[in-house]
Symmetry: C2
Subunit: 463 residues, 2 copies
């Protein structure tokens, strides 16, 4: 007989005379003559309640069942007379699949700290909170693909292993197939040539440059894949391995880019509120009481758009200015405290800051007519700060070449990138969104370690 | 004015008095008094034909337009009197966005070899063949997500950077954040501890063990991400970086696993035939004339299921047996020639071989009651050989521990994996499918380098 997943059982339209449910026991309560079992199989947040009458045989099995055990229940799906659920299972057959010794099973029926749960990342998805988190993570991934596909974008798998330190977006991990002995014996200058790829190789920090090649062929594309930073900053916002979404649009300027970013953020929030109501409800109730307000506020308002120059002026003139740890100064990146002031205090909604000084932005961003700024944009949201960062790309070959020279890079390393401006170049734009930051916005969770199944951070590679 | 993508223009229901089309010129033909332009913007295989009457102004612009140039065309969408297309654009405004010098632009209007196109992987998606390929690749990715989501599976991002050589599936790349000097000075035994993660770290060869933890929490999950092999085999079937799909199902046995694999393969083929008819048509016409027959044959037949033992016997007794390069012998892996004989000659359809000798399979596969074989399965398809490989997983703690010991591994390294069998273990199963192999099956393309945007192979890290 085929098992019915708990989600489907709870959503049944009618009673079912024979049903098979399997899952893990969350609680067991014994009464005189019968027992209650709460069963969860991960298909949804809610458990299904099972009532089994005691027979000598069943009592023997029930003795071995405790929180965490896996069971198979055969019975009837009937309307529940109790509160809190529409349906329950009257179990007539109970099978213990796998016990969980209450002396050693770490997930007992009580609240565990996030820190503790990180130390058992292989078991934490069996809790309500992390089950909900990773169902939302899955649905958010799907929503991203659906959003872009519906708009005619193509998904491109840009390479993870790369030979170029493209945009200097951060410290890179190096990869090698040489063994220790070779690494210590071969001269530094010769190691690349002797290594697997015949040159030095690293883990990508961004798929953008590759994605641009595809936007300039297929029109509209996006990447969605893992990216890496070898930065030893042990903060709640940084991980060495995280996922990023990078759309790239041909025939588009900075305004199109801002429109796409805003539309995407709203679409994703809306999709998750509609498809993951129960799971989001858990976070709104137990993690961040303001969550629903923040999300609805984001959905209901047009995002503010302000130039970097105006933003700096506003920050310098605001009442809080003297209390900032860092004085907001033209020519410097905005600090998180500045970003939060703009979104949380001043505009009270998401803000897109655009047209940044060219000196503080990478070579590929398009130089504006003022020759001082580039067509960059950062989309800031309350609590998180920067959620999306992007730009119109420099499509003019001569300007791009001089920008590469300015930054001291070698334009020969970018021959293929420059080719795209040499042959049929077109205005285009794109951005990157940190997937985990979007998840943090959606759930109110403040530590990136709690939105990644098995997070990778300095000195931490368990599981 | 907003541009209309070529796909939408070609699918128009009515003529459009004002339309803006942008794209790259595939060909230009000048006639007396007017010119034809074939424009492609990557949204679909087909070009849109543009006719522009010559005016002195337009002629000046047309002079600079050649194959590969990017243009913006304003005009009217009208029914085409010519053959081969329903609609064409009567252009009244022509703008050159970016020229492409015919002396240097490598993609002229002629057939280029796959080898040559690999050397310009940044431009090859501008050809019909590779445009089609990477649109199919995108749609196939979507189909995978849709298939699993519709069946209630959750998508899990398993880690790329790993500390364990889990299943010994292949040679691994090592990753490090130490610089050359440190690597040459620090003793081998101390390098791990001094490195970013405080231990040796590698690129993953499979997300399975992590995915199992999630199946044993959320019920049904799958991974879809990049995996890596540091194997220096320079063959048309191997790449150092490729994408893999790995579903993992709780409360499932080997039969459920075979059913899922067969259902998935058929769903994906069907989805692509329905959504990418034009692009697949190109491959059926120019790459593999038997493509449609192969795909339809796969769709229309129940896959053969045969034990490894029966398959070996069959191979030993078949007429071709003496012509095999390798004698089919019990206890050895099937060779590609054997797999192809089974699918192409004997059964003339896909074949699932199951129950392999335990000695030639990894520790995590479930030992059968005969104690000789494990509940493994390989799904073989014509032309490709192994497309899917999987197994029921060993859910019995004691058996798993002794299998780990058998293979000489250290069970302490797998404490978390064993925990899942210690606490509420359940029968479960899963498999891996090479994404690129599926693409090769779908398109008839025989070199893996031609189904990956920027392939990574030994001594090759360009782009």
């Amino acid at each position: 007989m085929k098992r019915t997943c708990v989600k489907d059982a709870l959503n049944a339209e009618n009673s079912v005379s024979e049903i098979l449910v399997k899952g893990w026991v969350r609680t067991k309560r014994d009464n005189k003559g019968f027992s209650f079992l709460e069963i969860n199989d991960g298909s949804c947040l809610n458990n299904i309640q099972v009532i089994v009458d005691h027979t000598p045989e069943i009592e023997k099995i029930l003795e071995k069942i405790s929180t965490g055990a896996s069971v198979s229940i055969f019975g009837e799906l009937v309307e529940s007379p109790g509160k809190g659920q529409k349906w329950e299972v009257r179990g007539t057959g109970v099978e213990l699949l796998g016990a969980a010794d209450p002396e050693t099973f770490p997930l007992q029926k009580k609240r565990h700290s996030d820190e503790f749960l990180r130390s058992i990342a292989h078991l934490r998805p069996r809790t309500n909170k992390f089950g909900a988190m990773f169902r939302i993570r899955s649905e958010l991934s799907y929503a991203i693909h659906k959003f872009f596909r519906d708009k005619g974008f193509f998904y491109v798998h840009t390479p993870i292993i790369t030979g170029s330190d493209c945009e200097g977006a951060g410290e890179m991990f190096r990869i090698t197939s040489l063994d220790h002995e070779s690494l210590s014996k071969i001269k530094k200058e010769e190691q690349g040539a002797r290594d697997f790829f015949g040159q030095e190789s690293h883990l990508t920090v961004s798929g953008q440059l590759s994605a641009e090649m595809y936007a300039l062929s297929l029109g509209q594309v996006y990447t969605f894949g893992p990216t890496f930073r070898a930065e030893k900053s042990n903060t709640p916002r940084h991980a060495a391995e995280f996922w990023m979404i990078e759309p790239e649009i041909a025939f588009a300027d900075l305004n199109d880019n801002m429109d796409l970013g805003e539309e995407m953020v709203k679409y994703l929030i809306n999709h998750i509120l509609e498809t993951c109501a129960d799971d989001i409800g858990l976070f709104a109730k137990f993690v961040d009481k303001t969550l629903m307000d923040t999300l609805k506020n984001t959905l209901d308002n047009k995002f503010e758009r302000i130039t970097y120059t105006d933003a700096v002026n506003l920050l310098q003139r605001c009442k809080k200015a003297k209390k900032f740890e860092y004085w907001p100064e033209y020519g410097h990146d905005l600090q998180t405290e500045h970003e939060r002031y703009l979104t949380e205090k001043h505009f009270k909604k998401p803000v897109i800051v655009y047209d940044y000084p060219r000196e503080i932005k990478p070579f590929y961003m398009r130089v504006n007519d003022d020759d001082k700024t580039v067509a960059a944009m950062d989309l800031l949201v309350p609590r998180i700060g920067e959620l999306v960062g992007g730009s119109q790309r420099e499509e003019r070959l001569d300007v791009l070449e001089s920008r590469i020279a300015e930054t001291g890079m070698n334009s020969e390393d970018y021959w293929w990138y420059l080719d795209s401006r040499r042959f049929g170049t077109v205005p285009h734009a794109g951005f990157g969104m940190g997937f985990e930051r979007m998840l943090m916005l959606l759930t109110g969770v403040t530590n990136i370690r709690d939105v990644i199944p098995f997070p990778r951070t300095p000195k931490n590679l368990e599981f």
